[in-house]
Amino acid sequence: MDWPVDKSTTLLERAEIPEKSLRVPQLPDEPVSVVEASGAWVTANLSDLWMYRELLYFLTWRDLKVRYKQTVLGMAWALLQPLLMTMIFTIFLGRVVQVPSDNIPYPLFVYAGLLLWTFFSGAVTATGNSLVGNAPLITKVYFPRLIIPIAAITARLVDLGIAFLILAGMMIYYRAALTMQLLMVPPLVLLMVLLALGFGLWTSAVNVKYRDVGIALPVLIQLWMFASPVVYPLSLVPQRWQLAYSLNPVAGILEGFRSALFGKAFNWPTIILAAIFTLLLLVYATYAFRNRERVFADLI
């Protein structure tokens, strides 16, 4: 014998779910994505990146927004940072130590260097820590991980753009001659961006497993600055060391950048060397990143 109960009664009301409608979207014939263990060789998966391009925009925008949130001066810091540095170096190195500057007014000379260097160091630091800083996202949602370090770079690009406005103002103030060589500015800036991306990608991926990298990075960056012609010209380096010195890709790019701005002769070998180094680094870093990407969520 059975007790006469209404079996449909539970704590939750079944009636709340409405009848099925027929607005069912069509599924594609081919899978949108396939999940499986990736082989040893992985590529950059550009189509996936393209699908998530809006995320790149939003992460860049978030980085900018959060960085300048609760600051009184806001985006003005993007101008103030290199300007204040320029003042400090002009006073101490330009006036007191009298560092030569290839016959360019020292403030203009050092600002041009600091402009690119501030971008580079900021971008590398931000990128290197970007994956670890976004751990909650990485362990909870899928999207191409490459977006995170790339967004860290693009956020710094906005700062770079603003800092360029000041450079233009200074060039006019110091009556710097405008030459055809200015056309080399965009490719050289691009080279710097790619170098920062390559180096940042590699550091960010390694930093996921070995946090030592994140700690050592600021020290390395500081060292790198003094090993690069940021606040002094390449010509200050003794002749016999110049070749070894030029192996530093930042040196080649910075010197080329100044030559382009101030109409001096390009030192092509160093620029080409820097370009080759940058491209090789970028390819290797992308490979290393993609190769480690599969274990990010398990390690971070």
């Binding site: 014998m1 059975d2 007790w3 109960v5 539970t10 704590l11 939750l12 009301e13 079944r14 709340e16 779910i17 409405p18 009848e19 099925k20 409608s21 607005r23 069912v24 979207p25 599924l27 594609p28 899978p31 949108v32 994505s33 396939v34 999940v35 499986e36 263990a37 990736s38 699908m51 998530y52 809006e54 995320l55 925009y57 939003f58 992460l59 978030r62 927004k65 959060v66 949130k69 609760q70 909650p136 996202l137 990485i138 362990t139 909870k140 949602v141 899928y142 999207f143 930093n207 996921v208 497993k209 070995y210 946090r211 030592d212 599969r294 274990v295 969520a297 398990d298 390690l299 971070i300």
Partner: protein, 429 residues
């Protein structure tokens, strides 16, 4: 209807012990391990297998478009790993999954939220994280705001939101902005009853729009309402798959070994974290021990002993009792507890006792879920099946009925009957 997800032979292996799952490894540790590994390998006769666990092993199933499929299983059965593999957060070790739609994720509601950004900004950011286009987000924006009931605060940074507002917004974003496949992991563990109801209703709508829902829950009542089909995982393998009612019944019957007393004295057994840790739990008749039977008439007590490692926190327990059909019989919190309620707990060992009167529960197996909650909002510890015990029937109260007594509870209610009138002429005849 076509399959939107097909899962073939998925397995996932984790290394335990040697690699650090939660923290980054420092170079020194890596070097150390590098030197020690060959030695360990010699010692273990070349086997490293003890360090491996298969979180998932040979999982096969398919999900149809528009289906709401439930995934059930006890803690550690591999549910979270399966979700992580499905949502491409982590790679499977072997096997293949074909996805015919974009998979959103609700692994933890509000994951992509940034505290400094406003509600409006977070909606767009979160949508982008889930792979939605800006136009799709804009289109759903008003609906999200309306669902979450935060119109007035939409331009306030979410760090100033109450936890309820945060939850509502997070669920609304996830449910509205998820692409073709929505993954819902135990969202119903939080929020008040009306909000939970709203969430369940929304999930039904999602399915009706032809979107697919993967619903993970320990709440069997919700599973039974929402899902026609469930997959039951046990130790990384599929223990059952098919029609909800059958599988849920098997799942609840499985491992139904009464555990009226449990002691966690081995630090290796997970009974907490670095903030609180359960030491002992027990259910026993008021004047007896855990070995004594509890009948439907018996008044009994729950006892929980736990370490608090963090000084100066307001701790509160939350006891949820479920019957053998997975229906929650009651939930109880110590709001009238006389000594410690509302006070700051120092670090140390505590015992909380809950008295349950007799003549309340129906017979059958009961499971107690225990939460230890900080400041009445943050769940520090969640222990499923903290206690499992049988409530035995009692012959005295059956009358002439010998079948299974229905009902979630079985109170002993007073009945009275009076003879009112003998004059049948007053009747409705």
């Amino acid at each position: 209807m076509r399959n939107i997800i097909t899962v073939e032979n998925i397995s996932k292996r984790y290394q335990i012990g040697t690699s650090h799952q939660s923290t980054g490894q420092s170079l020194r540790e890596a070097l150390n391990e590098f030197i020690k590994r060959p030695i360990n390998r010699l010692r273990n006769n070349g086997y490293e297998a003890d360090n491996e666990i298969w979180a998932l092993k040979d999982i096969n199933f398919a999900v149809e478009q528009g289906e709401t499929i439930g995934i059930i299983g006890s803690n550690g059965a591999g549910k979270s790993t399966l979700l992580k593999v499905l949502s491409r957060i982590t790679e499977p070790t072997t096997g293949r999954i074909e996805l015919f739609g974009r998979v959103g994720s609700l692994l933890e509601v509000g994951t992509g939220f940034h505290p400094e950004l406003t509600g409006r900004e977070n909606i767009f950011l979160n949508g982008a994280v889930m792979g939605m286009k800006r136009s799709e987000i804009t289109q759903k924006f008003d609906e999200i705001v309306a669902f979450s009931e935060i119109e007035r605060f939409i331009d306030t940074p979410v760090k100033r939101y109450s936890s309820g507002m945060y939850m509502r917004l997070a669920f609304a974003v996830a449910a509205h902005l998820s692409p073709e496949v929505l993954i819902v992991d135990e969202v119903l563990a939080v929020g008040d009853a009306s909000f939970q109801k709203k969430c369940l209703g929304k999930m039904g709508d999602v399915a009706n729009e032809g979107r697919t829902v993967l619903f993970v829950s320990h709440n069997m009542a919700a599973i039974q309402v929402l899902c026609k089909r469930v997959v039951w995982l046990q130790q990384g393998k599929i223990a059952g798959e098919g029609e909800t009612e059958t599988v849920v019944k098997n799942y609840l019957g499985e491992g139904a070994v009464a555990a009226p007393e449990r002691v966690w004295d081995d630090a290796a057994v997970i009974s907490g974290n670095d903030r609180v840790r359960l030491r002992r739990a027990c259910v026993r008749p008021v004047n007896g021990s855990a070995n004594d039977n509890i009948t439907i008439r018996t008044a009994f007590t729950f006892e929980f002993e736990y370490w608090n490692f963090e000084p100066d926190v307001h701790l509160s327990l939350s006891l949820h009792l479920y019957n053998d059909r997975g229906v929650m019989v009651f939930a109880s919190v110590p709001v009238r507890e006389p000594t410690w309620h509302g006070k700051a707990f120092p670090a140390g060992l505590f015992r909380s006792v809950c008295q349950v009167p007799g003549d309340l529960l129906n017979d059958g197996l009961h499971r107690a879920l225990l939460l230890i909650v900080k400041n009445e909002s943050e769940v520090l510890l969640r222990m499923e099946d903290a206690l499992i015990f049988e409530v035995f029937d009692s012959v005295e109260r059956r009358g002439n009925w010998h079948g299974k007594w229905p009902g979630t509870v079985r109170p002993d209610l007073d009945w009275t009957t009076e003879y009112l009138d003998g004059d049948l002429q007053k009747g409705p005849r």
